[in-house]
């Protein structure tokens, strides 16, 4: 496994272009994100937020420009970045026939986490034992989303990439998610997530990148 170096920059994009079927979903995005930062990506639909996440996850190829994640050059090597990534995409990545707990357990076994971690993650996302033992096929969208988040928590990745993690969650779960993301950053992980949420009062606003037309249009630092 590639060692994570001590460099303080987690992500460095320079004029990154990602063409999907000839369409530049990212049209020259430049941004630098430090280790342990919490970053929200905002912007209208189709401005390249998801593509930026997928680029950082090593899932889509870089067409032009440069992109580095943990000192790995994405132009050369997308595969070794993936080991450090925890991804929550548009879709949840769950197995319909498995129960909520089995899905989380599957991730836990893969990454060598303990059974205790599974129970902790399920509890934090308020997945009760009835839901946990139901096949995810039969769960509601919000319950499925929470199961996917529990898997992500168990995963303990270096880089968390979440696409609309708040969507479909109730208010309590959203607050809990914010706490989880903050905890992740304080333990050294870097977190990027996209959101359409309007700011809720009484909550710290993280660093926010506004995307427009496939580029980073503005970058507003964290406000307390």
């Amino acid at each position: 496994m590639q060692p994570v170096t001590t460099n303080d920059t987690a992500i460095r994009l320079n004029d990154a272009v990602v063409a999907l079927g000839g369409f530049p979903a990212l049209a020259g995005a430049s941004v630098s994100v430090g280790r342990g930062e919490l970053v929200a990506l905002r912007g209208a639909n189709g401005t390249g937020k998801s593509t930026l996440l997928r680029l950082c996850a090593g899932l889509v190829p870089l067409t032009r420009g440069s992109a580095q994640v943990f000192d790995v050059n994405l132009a050369d090597d997308r595969a070794s970045v993936r080991r450090h990534v925890g991804l929550l995409g548009h879709r949840n990545g769950l197995y319909d026939e498995l129960t909520s707990r089995e899905n989380v357990e599957f991730t836990a076994r893969l990454v060598g986490a303990h059974t205790r971690d599974v129970e902790d993650a399920l509890a934090r996302l308020r997945i009760d034992s009835r839901v946990a033992s139901t096949r995810t096929r039969a769960l509601s969208a919000g319950q499925r989303r929470r199961t996917a988040l529990a898997s992500l928590v168990v995963r303990r990745a270096q880089l968390w990439l979440l696409d609309e993690p708040h969507a479909g969650l109730d208010a309590a779960a959203r607050d809990e998610l914010d706490v989880i993301l903050l905890e992740a950053t304080s333990s050294g992980a870097t977190v990027l997530y996209t959101t359409h949420e309007t700011d809720r009062p009484g909550r710290a606003v993280p660093r926010t990148l506004l995307l427009a037309g496939g580029v980073v249009a503005s970058d507003s630092p964290r406000q307390s």
Binding site: A57, L59, A79, R82, G93, L110
Partner: protein, 226 residues
């Protein structure tokens, strides 16, 4: 290695829950055996064709199973999560291979019994060992080719027909080898047991070659489509 077993266990659990093998593949395979018998409509001819029919049916059932195992991975984008979760691709390959192997083993045992019951094929005492070796090595070969080429087409449109186009020519040696060896095990007049073992050697080489090739190539092939 541990990760491979975790993946295999997951695949088998999903299959056990969905009961696809039981509900769709096994009935399909047995139905094909019956239909062949009806189509050929001649008992000596059926007996002569029995081993070939068994393995031809296995080939098509493999396509069904492989499509299914990758459908499970792609329908909710689980494959992307798997790719981005510190799992070595080679472990995903062997995990899926092993799960497919177990299912194909069950299916081929059933089909051999089907041939014995429906077609009147016979296996004398010493040929049982030969038959078991054939079934194990052929099932492993089918599983490795299926898992490998299933990965090539996993994210493509029209993958079902493409999988058949890619995998079937590759499986030709396996079809020939397994059919002839099984013919020998069924006590055919045209092939003796020694030749049967020669074919098993080919099956073993085939299984080893494509397991190794799959282990080497799987990581590069497992690319999500944009």
């Amino acid at each position: 290695m541990k990760q491979a077993l975790v993946v295999a266990r997951k695949d088998l659990l999903v299959e056990f829950r969905a009961r696809l093998l039981l509900v769709r593949v096994i009935p399909f395979a047995l139905l094909v055996l019956v239909l062949f018998a009806v189509a050929l409509d001649s008992e000596p001819l059926i007996l002569r064709a029995a081993s070939g029919l068994v393995w031809l049916t296995m080939l098509f059932s493999t396509l069904l199973l492989v499509q299914r195992t990758y459908d499970v991975e792609t329908q909710d984008a689980a494959l992307e999560v798997l790719l981005t979760s510190a799992v070595e691709p080679v472990n995903v390959f062997f995990g899926k291979l092993f799960a497919a192997f177990v299912q194909l083993l069950v299916l081929s045992v059933l089909l051999v019994f089907g041939a014995i019951v429906l077609y009147g094929a016979t296996v004398s005492g010493s040929n049982v060992v030969l038959l078991v070796t054939i079934v194990v090595s052929a099932a492993w070969g089918l599983a490795s080719v299926g898992t490998l080429y299933g990965a090539v087409v996993a994210n493509m449109n029209g993958r079902d027909s493409l999988l058949a186009l890619l995998a079937l020519p590759v499986l030709a040696p396996l079809l020939i080898g397994a059919s002839r060896a099984t013919e020998a095990a069924f006590g055919s007049q045209t092939i003796d047991t020694a030749s049967g073992w020669a074919w098993v050697a080919l099956l073993a080489v085939f299984a080893v070659v494509f397991s190794a090739a799959g282990a080497a190539a799987f990581g590069a092939l497992m690319e999500p489509e944009a």
